[in-house]
Subunit: 420 residues, 2 copies
Amino acid sequence: MSGLAIHEARLLGRLHALGQIGRDGENRLTRLAASDTDRAGRDALVGWLREADLDVVVDRIGNIFGIWRTHANAAEAPLLLGSHIDTVIDAGIYDGCYGVLAGLEVIETLRAAGLTPVRPIAVAAFTNEEGVRYAPDMMGSLVHAGGLSVEEALASIGTDGTTLGAELERIGYAGVAEPGFLRPHAYVELHIEQGPVLEREGVPIGAVATLQGISWQRVVMEGTANHAGTTPMSMRRDAGYAAARVIAFVNEQARKAHDPSVATVGCIAFEPNAINVIPARATFTVDLRDPDEARLAAGEAALAIFLDEVAASEGVSVSVERLARFSPVAFDAGIVALIEQAAAGRGLAYQRMTSGAGHDAQMMARMAPAAMIFVPSLGGISHNPREHTPQADLVAGANVLLDVVACLADAKGDRHGYGS
Amino acid sequence: MSGLAIHEARLLGRLHALGQIGRDGENRLTRLAASDTDRAGRDALVGWLREADLDVVVDRIGNIFGIWRTHANAAEAPLLLGSHIDTVIDAGIYDGCYGVLAGLEVIETLRAAGLTPVRPIAVAAFTNEEGVRYAPDMMGSLVHAGGLSVEEALASIGTDGTTLGAELERIGYAGVAEPGFLRPHAYVELHIEQGPVLEREGVPIGAVATLQGISWQRVVMEGTANHAGTTPMSMRRDAGYAAARVIAFVNEQARKAHDPSVATVGCIAFEPNAINVIPARATFTVDLRDPDEARLAAGEAALAIFLDEVAASEGVSVSVERLARFSPVAFDAGIVALIEQAAAGRGLAYQRMTSGAGHDAQMMARMAPAAMIFVPSLGGISHNPREHTPQADLVAGANVLLDVVACLADAKGDRHGYGS
């Protein structure tokens, strides 16, 4: 227990202010990585970091860090908080932004209270967590953790044909710091659940102990464009029909598997995409997730076999590109226990859980002890304008983060069993 | 038998010249209705019509007519030939263009031979036959025949959000003549088969006696956008999966039906179309064709029932928009017989057949006796850059058209049993 409390109005005010940046003519919120609207969001965040008198550092992949360090603690490994501020298309205002702004809020609260942590405390906004415009997702934290070279990441070609490196230069967020320059003592990420569990259980705080594995693939099926009226069904090589069979299969396989298995086809395109022409090419994405690595691999294998079957029966060719592949993650048991203690200390119900979504924390777990705090998402809705978390839960989550940070930032590794 | 022959090099030269107009950077041929490339193709055609000293008339829907009339025959109803010069995306060079340029070729040949037909002979290039950019297809001939008001047609919104009327104004082909101003004595259209029948049978000339009915619909399925990782399969309303089930059903129903039944889903779009978001909306087109009206209607009914089933089982909403609906057509028996006689007269094998594709002739059949002549398409391939018809077949078809025209243009209605 820090005995402190975050400044509710400041946190909620910034959260709603950021949520107004990147609205289109139909009031749809979209801040795709390294876009003009992402730049506007980044500018607002950097402004707040500077107001809080933090050292602002941008690295080569565009990750933004706000660092509170003192003469006394500058030599220590910093405690890092963070998440992301890029969004999906037509997004809600909480995903990612909540964790970044709560991290800033916690630092300001501790500083205002005159605390002198024995190690620096920093907050990070990682580039391209959503992966909508550039693959893979969680790119900024992956590069920071050394899982992907910065050159490879900057060379990523976007869905709009742009190159990430050029876009970061264009919006002014191609920094000079080498990714990974900040090696954290520990990493803690506060995030909305984006799922239905906490609301259904009536529990305000989730202590995230594990995270699902993710497999992203892009499938291209190629047949023959031909006249829709004159080509007998028996003589067709219809890439669109072949794709439809695969989309149905992917969904039905996941329904048959154990409950946590999920599968989604979110993107599709036909060519030439004309009403009276049999599709010559169908391109679609497959998103498979599972907390069990063996089951995730089995799902990938089943898809590969079915693709070959459809290719043979429909006379189409198939090519598959792996866009992202991350194994399930187990977070640091010590920090997870600390989160539970902090929740208990504030009289908040909590439960251990698995994250169904990918998060920057899974990348940071490669280089430091890490864990996550979840708060409820009404209806489990996310990646949607109706994404919502009640204010009381937003405040409770930030105060739990505050207590965890207060503890970790002056922990010498001999308290709460942490680090032992 | 006219005893004449068309000028092969002139016809083939124009066909290849027109086929070079509207190529993109990858050498793909695309002249969508009322686009800049369509304008370029129209300009070339009008140039050739003027070189042939024909009266050029453009009507309000952009149909182009080249009319050969004399003082002696100006009072008679003209014999009309024609087709279209708009194309699909990444098209071949023969579809439509062959019929228009062969019509012009026949007029020039008759004129050069000093013939004096008892009625005017005209060639038409009808607007938006393909229907790729604006629906319905065969629009120009449909409006000419009085099946659609010119105001309604000009108000059509394109796949790119443009309005046909504004685009015709922009490219300079919004004429002043009232559609239907030319009431033909008869209409004859020469076209590539776009199907495999003639090549398979080794027959160079098809006398088209009937034409398939066509049903075009646009289906929109709406579910809920949600996070691909955190939303259990059981809690999803996945519009993309629902669409995939319908696409598979449409194809499999047609395979089960009698051989001539065909069904195609050529266009699709998901929203928001993001790899990690469950599709909130799927929009796709359905193209059903059948020479039998009852079977076509049964196919539409089966689709409607299945859409309701999927909507109920997947928790999505469905809306259907009818884009086009044309019943099967029987062409004029007298002209069909005349085509067979003309082929026989030149020692060419021929056969009666059904058209699987929609053509302007089916619209013109509403206002005048009409029929079509088909020539082989190698491999039945069309709406594809590999669309090809051997030169000998192109020439043979044009010469059969020449003889049919020579006969119809001076027929008083008492020869060949035509009109009796």
